[in-house]
Subunit: 144 residues, 2 copies
DNA sequence: GCAGGTTGCCGAATTTTGTTCGGTCTGAGG
DNA sequence: CCTCAGACCGAACAAAATTCGGCAACCTGC
């Protein structure tokens, strides 16, 4: 993981569709060597997958909210319960007064309410506190 | 935006590296027609870009925290101030007692503390409340 | 009902890129 | 000094992206 690898990761974050030739030029390597570098980055798990960035509003998920989930039991094994709710985009165990923090995207506030209902149905969940996002300043890739 | 488009977006989220031929087979179209569909999805902004998913821990961002930022002024024009802190991955204006919610990734809790210091330096920021993530259950693409 | 225009698709031609491979260079370890 | 492993280059080869002519379905306004 040297500077070249970091540059490659950075450039691929910005545009994963560019050619290995262009990528190689940017770091001073041939297309073949660049290909090999990227292959190893995948192999090592630094690059998990190549994907696309989708406009949430364009696919019917215009409402974004973060929900603090309170519980009266150990939630460490409940990952699958949260994963079963498709509107949940992220779920984390957190330190602090709440137990779990989830990121939810829905088409409407009515659907958000329905997600809250389904959260309550999970074993151990004793309460929720939803924070609705009014405007997103930005969402961007990791720093390097 | 019909079912075919939705399937294309879904499949590309899972693997943006597959060929148009494979993609076309999955939806019952030729490679050429598939290419044209995807081109239009980009043109319309449904697909914003193609990127890679990077393991945060592998690039020195093993600590994840969400920070509620309190303010005593209108923060609607302060997006650039937050964007100037590279460790901030997301920043949103929120409804509720706090004004802004930011997602922060750092290499250590010391660096997290330094980010909090820089947050306080932003005009109008009157307080912060950081929530450290202990374990991430999952982070996944948008529901289709 | 139909002429003209539009859209979406196919399939093949063409160009560009991905992928593989032999050979060279360099640095580490013995 | 010798040998091995790793990284790179450049060229050859395979595969994919991209373009394009032609066809059919579908509007739309006469």
């Amino acid at each position: 993981m040297d500077d070249i690898d970091r540059t490659l990761v950075l450039r691929l974050q910005q545009d994963a569709g560019q050619s290995y030739a262009a990528l190689g030029t940017a770091v001073g390597l041939s297309a073949g060597a660049t290909h090999e570098r990227v292959r190893k980055l995948r192999e090592r798990g630094v690059i998990r997958r190549t994907t696309i960035d989708v406009d949430p509003a364009a696919v019917g998920s215009g409402v974004l909210a973060y929900v603090m989930v309170d519980s009266n039991a150990w939630m460490g094994e409940s990952g699958d319960d949260f994963a079963a709710i498709p509107e949940i985009q992220e779920a984390h165990i957190i330190a602090g007064s709440a137990s779990v923090l989830v990121k939810v995207r829905t088409a409407s506030t009515e659907q958000l309410q329905d997600v809250l209902r389904r959260l309550y149905a999970i074993d151990g969940v004793s309460g929720t506190h939803a924070t609705v996002v009014l405007e997103t300043f930005f969402e961007r890739p990791l720093p390097l």
